[in-house]
C-alpha cells in the first residue's frame, strides 16, 4: 500500500465530510409537527447520519483501493459491510441495513469488475463468442415472448402477478413507443405522458358520452394522439435538443393543467369513472350482463371467473406491445427509420444530404405519440377510472428512465428495464418508498458509467455482407 494510503484516507475523509455537510440538516433534523398548531420541533436522526457517514468513508476508501488495483483489501472491506448490513446488529433504522449491505455489494462488484469484464470481453471477442452473443440475444427475445404468452397458464399467475404483468407490459409498450422518439430519432421528449393522457381521455369521453366501444375508439385515440403530436411538434421540433426537452415538458404540464381545470369536459380532479372495459366480440366481462349485452361466460358457455377479464386485458396489452415492437422494427429498416437515426447522429449532415429535418422528426414524434395514445386507451379501459393524477411529469420521467436504462434504441433493453424498474419495486414492497430515489440515482449512474444503457449492441438496419461472415474486423 505504501504512501498511497494517506492520500486515499484523505480522499475518503473529504467525501465523508461532504456527505456529512449534505445530510446534517435534511437528514439529521427531521421536522415534525409539535401538535396543536404550535409549529415544528425536531426528531433527531444524527446517529443514522453518523453511521451513514462512516459507511461512506469506508466505501470510498474501498473504491479507491479497488481503483488502485488493491483488490483484496477492497473485497475485505466490502465483505465486512455486507456482513454488518446483514447482521442482526441494531442499527437505528432498517434503511441503514440496506444501505450498508448494498454499499458492500457494490464495492465487491467494483473490486472484482476488472477480472469479470476481462473474462467476459475475452470470451465475447472470439468469433464463436460473437456469434453466440448474437444468437443468444435473438433466442432471448423469443424466450421472453414465449414466457409472456404462456404466463397466464402457469401456476404463478394469481391475480397479483397478472396485475403486475399488465402493468409491466403497459410500460414496455410506452417504452417502445418513446424509444422511437428518444432512442431512434434522438429527440428528448419530457412530455410523453401527455399523449398517453390524450388517448386515455379520448376513450373515457367517447365511451361514456357517446357509447363507443373500445375497439372502435382504439384507432381513433391513436390518431388523435398522433394529431396532437403533429400540432404540438410542428412549431417546436426545429429547436435544439435541450430546448425541445423543456418545451415538451411544458406541453405535458399544460395538457395536465387543462385536464385538471376544464371541468365541463373532464370533470376536473375528480376524474371520469365507470368507463366500460374492452369487449370480446361484443360480449362483456361481467357476472350479469347489462341490458342488451351478452357476457363472455354466456357466449363461451363457461363458468364466470373474475380472472378472465384480467387474462383478456393481459393479452390485449401484450398484443398492442408486440404491434408496437413489430412496427418499430420494420420502420427502422425503411428509409425514414434510417433518417431518424441519422438525425440523432448528426442533424447538420442530414440537412446537407437534403433530408428535411422537421418532417422527419415530426413522423417520429407523431408515431411515438400514436402508440402512447393506444396505450392510454388501454389504460382507461383497464382502470375504468382516470383522473389527471395519472398523467404527471414523473410518469414521463419513468418511461424515459426505462428507455435510457434499457439502452437507447434497444427493444430488448426496454423490456429488461421495465421489468427491473417496474417489476422489482412491486415485488419488494418494503422498498417501495425508496423506489423513486433509486430511479433518480440509477439515471445518474447509468449516464456516468454506462451511457449506452444495459444493451448497447446496435444491429445494423441493412448489411452488405451476411452477419457473422468475417468481412469486417
Amino acid at each position: 500500500m505504501g504512501p498511497r494510503l494517506p492520500l486515499m484516507l484523505k480522499d475518503a475523509g473529504l467525501t465523508a465530510f461532504v456527505a456529512a455537510a449534505l445530510g446534517i440538516f435534511i437528514v439529521g433534523f427531521r421536522t415534525v409537527d409539535t401538535g396543536g398548531g404550535k409549529g415544528l420541533s425536531f426528531d433527531y436522526h444524527l446517529v443514522d447520519l453518523a453511521v451513514a457517514v462512516v459507511v461512506i468513508f469506508i466505501g470510498r476508501l474501498g473504491l479507491s483501493m479497488a481503483a488502485n488495483g488493491q483488490r483484496w483489501p477492497a473485497i475485505v472491506l466490502g465483505g465486512a459491510m455486507i456482513a454488518a448490513g446483514a447482521s442482526p446488529m441494531k442499527l437505528p433504522s432498517g434503511f441503514l441495513h440496506w444501505f450498508v449491505a448494498l454499499g458492500g455489494v457494490l464495492l465487491v462488484i467494483r473490486a472484482i469488475w476488472p477480472w469479470a469484464s476481462d473474462a467476459m470481453s475475452a470470451a465475447a471477442r472470439t468469433p464463436s463468442g460473437l456469434a453466440l452473443g448474437k444468437a443468444r440475444s435473438r433466442w432471448f427475445g423469443w424466450l421472453l415472448l414465449g414466457a409472456a404468452v404462456l404466463m397466464p397458464f402457469t401456476p404463478i399467475a394469481d391475480q397479483k402477478t397478472m396485475d403486475l404483468g399488465v402493468l409491466i407490459l403497459t410500460y414496455v409498450m410506452l417504452g417502445w413507443g418513446l424509444n422511437i422518439v428518444v432512442g431512434l430519432a434522438g429527440l428528448l421528449d419530457l412530455g410523453y405522458v401527455a399523449f398517453y393522457a390524450v388517448g386515455a381521455y379520448a376513450y373515457a369521453l367517447l365511451s361514456t358520452q357517446y357509447g363507443l366501444g373500445f375497439w372502435t375508439v382504439l384507432p381513433l385515440a391513436g390518431m388523435m394522439a398522433a394529431l396532437f403530436g403533429i400540432v404540438l411538434g410542428f412549431p417546436v421540433l426545429r429547436l435544439r435538443g435541450d430546448y425541445l426537452a423543456i418545451v415538451t415538458l411544458g406541453f405535458g404540464e399544460i395538457i395536465r393543467l387543462v385536464l385538471l381545470n376544464w371541468f365541463d369536459l373532464t370533470n376536473g380532479p375528480a376524474g371520469i369513472g365507470s368507463i366500460p372495459g374492452p369487449t370480446l366480440f361484443g360480449a362483456v366481462f361481467a357476472e350479469t350482463p347489462p341490458a342488451g349485452k351478452q357476457t363472455v361466460s354466456e357466449m363461451l358457455g363457461i363458468a364466470f371467473d373474475g380472472n378472465h377479464r384480467l387474462i383478456f386485458l393481459y393479452y390485449i396489452i401484450l398484443g398492442l406491445a408486440l404491434v408496437t415492437n413489430l412496427f418499430t422494427q420494420r420502420m427502422r429498416r425503411l428509409p425514414v427509420g434510417r433518417a431518424w437515426e441519422a438525425l440523432r447522429e448528426d442533424e447538420t449532415a442530414c440537412q446537407a444530404l437534403g433530408i428535411n429535418p422537421t418532417n422527419t422528426k415530426l413522423t417520429a414524434f407523431a408515431i411515438g405519440a400514436m402508440f402512447a395514445g393506444f396505450a392510454g386507451s388501454f389504460f382507461a379501459a383497464k382502470q375504468r377510472f382516470i383522473s389527471p393524477e395519472s398523467f404527471v411529469f414523473i410518469e414521463s420521467a419513468i418511461i424515459l428512465a426505462i428507455v435510457v436504462l434499457g439502452g437507447m434504441g434497444s427493444q430488448i433493453g426496454v423490456v429488461l428495464a421495465a421489468v427491473l424498474l417496474i417489476g422489482l419495486p412491486e415485488w419488494f414492497r418494503d422498498l417501495g418508498n425508496y423506489r423513486m430515489l433509486a430511479f433518480g440515482l440509477a439515471m445518474v449512474l447509468i449516464m456516468v458509467f454506462r451511457p449506452r444503457g444495459l444493451i448497447s449492441h446496435r444491429e445494423p438496419s441493412i448489411r452488405l455482407h451476411p452477419a457473422g461472415s468475417g468481412g469486417s474486423g
Partner: protein, 274 residues
C-alpha cells in the same frame, strides 16, 4: 473566366456578402464554377472559405448577393432556398471541414441515408415500404448497388458493415465524399478533404477527385490548403483573403500572382505550409 468549358457556368456567385455582427466574413465576392471542372477556393485561415460554402449550401443566409445554380433543366436561386432543399432539389452536396459522418451507423447505412429522398418516394412515404411492395424492394436494391459502386471506388467494400466512426481518419474522409456523391449531385463542395491525410492517401484522393470530375462529369468546388493537391488537379482557382477575392485564374497564373504571394507570405503561419 478563362479556360473553362463552353457550357456556361454551373454556379454563379455574384456580390456575395456575409456579415456576423460587426465582422464582415465575406465582402462582395463573385466567381463562377463550371461543370466537369474543379474550382479551388484557397486562402489563409479565416479568409472566409467555409463561409462561402455555408452560404451556397444554405447553412447561412447571405447578407447580400446572389447565388445562381444552373442545374438539371432549371435555374435555382440558392439564397432563397431553405437549407435541406438545396441538397434535395438543387442537388448541391458537400462535405465538412471537421468530418460529419453518422458515426454510430455503418458505412453502408451512411450511403443509404444519402439516398433518402429517392428511397422515401419509392417507399411511398413508408406506406408501401411497410407493406413490403416489390417496387420498393427493387428501388432499395438499386440503392444498395449504387452504394456498392462507391464502396468499390473508395476501397471500403470490406468495411461496409462497420460503424463509420470506427474507420481510420483517411477512410472517413473518403467515405464522406462517397456519401455526398450518393445523393447524385450536380455540384460537389469539398471543405479541405486532404486535411490530415498522409502523402499516399493524399495522392489517392487526387485520383478520386479527378475521376469524379471526368467520369461523373459534375462540378467540384474545392477548399484546400494542400497546394500539391490544388495545383495538380484544379482547373480554376479563386483566392480569398480577409473575405475579399484577391485573385483568380488558372493554377500557373495564380501561383505567380504577386497579391497571392503577399497574402500567403505576409502572414507567418502560412509561410511554411503554403
Amino acid at each position: 473566366m478563362t479556360s473553362s468549358p463552353s457550357t456556361g457556368p454551373l454556379i454563379e456567385v455574384e456580390h456575395l456578402t456575409m456579415r456576423f455582427g460587426g465582422l464582415i466574413a465575406i465582402d462582395d465576392v463573385s466567381f463562377a464554377a463550371h461543370q466537369k471542372a474543379i474550382t479551388a477556393i484557397i486562402g489563409p485561415n479565416g479568409a472566409g472559405k467555409t463561409t462561402v460554402f455555408n452560404c451556397i449550401t444554405g447553412f447561412y443566409k447571405p447578407t447580400a448577393g446572389r447565388l445562381t445554380l444552373r442545374g438539371v433543366g432549371r435555374e435555382f436561386l440558392l439564397e432563397r432556398m431553405r437549407g435541406h432543399e438545396i441538397g434535395q432539389k438543387a442537388r448541391v452536396a458537400r462535405t465538412f471541414q471537421n468530418i460529419r459522418l453518422f458515426a454510430g451507423m455503418t458505412v453502408l447505412e451512411n450511403l443509404m441515408v444519402a439516398q433518402h429522398n429517392k428511397l422515401m418516394r419509392a417507399s411511398g412515404w413508408s406506406v408501401l415500404g411497410l407493406l413490403g411492395v416489390a417496387s420498393f424492394q427493387r428501388a432499395e436494391a438499386a440503392a444498395v448497388e449504387l452504394a456498392r459502386l462507391w464502396l468499390e471506388r473508395i476501397g471500403l467494400m470490406a468495411d461496409a458493415d462497420r460503424p463509420a466512426g470506427e474507420l481510420p481518419y483517411g477512410d472517413q474522409r473518403r467515405l464522406e465524399i462517397a456519401r455526398a456523391m450518393c445523393t447524385e449531385p450536380v455540384l460537389l463542395c469539398l471543405d479541405e478533404p486532404a486535411a490530415g491525410l498522409n502523402p499516399r492517401e493524399s495522392a489517392e484522393l487526387n485520383q478520386l477527385l479527378v475521376s469524379i470530375r471526368d467520369r461523373d462529369g459534375i462540378g467540384v468546388l474545392l477548399i484546400e490548403h494542400d497546394m500539391s493537391v490544388v495545383m495538380n488537379i484544379s482547373d480554376h482557382i479563386v483566392v480569398l483573403d480577409y473575405g475579399r477575392k484577391i485573385a483568380e485564374g488558372v493554377p500557373l497564373a495564380v501561383r505567380n500572382d504577386p497579391a497571392v504571394i503577399r497574402a500567403y507570405l505576409g502572414t507567418d503561419d502560412e509561410a511554411n505550409d503554403g
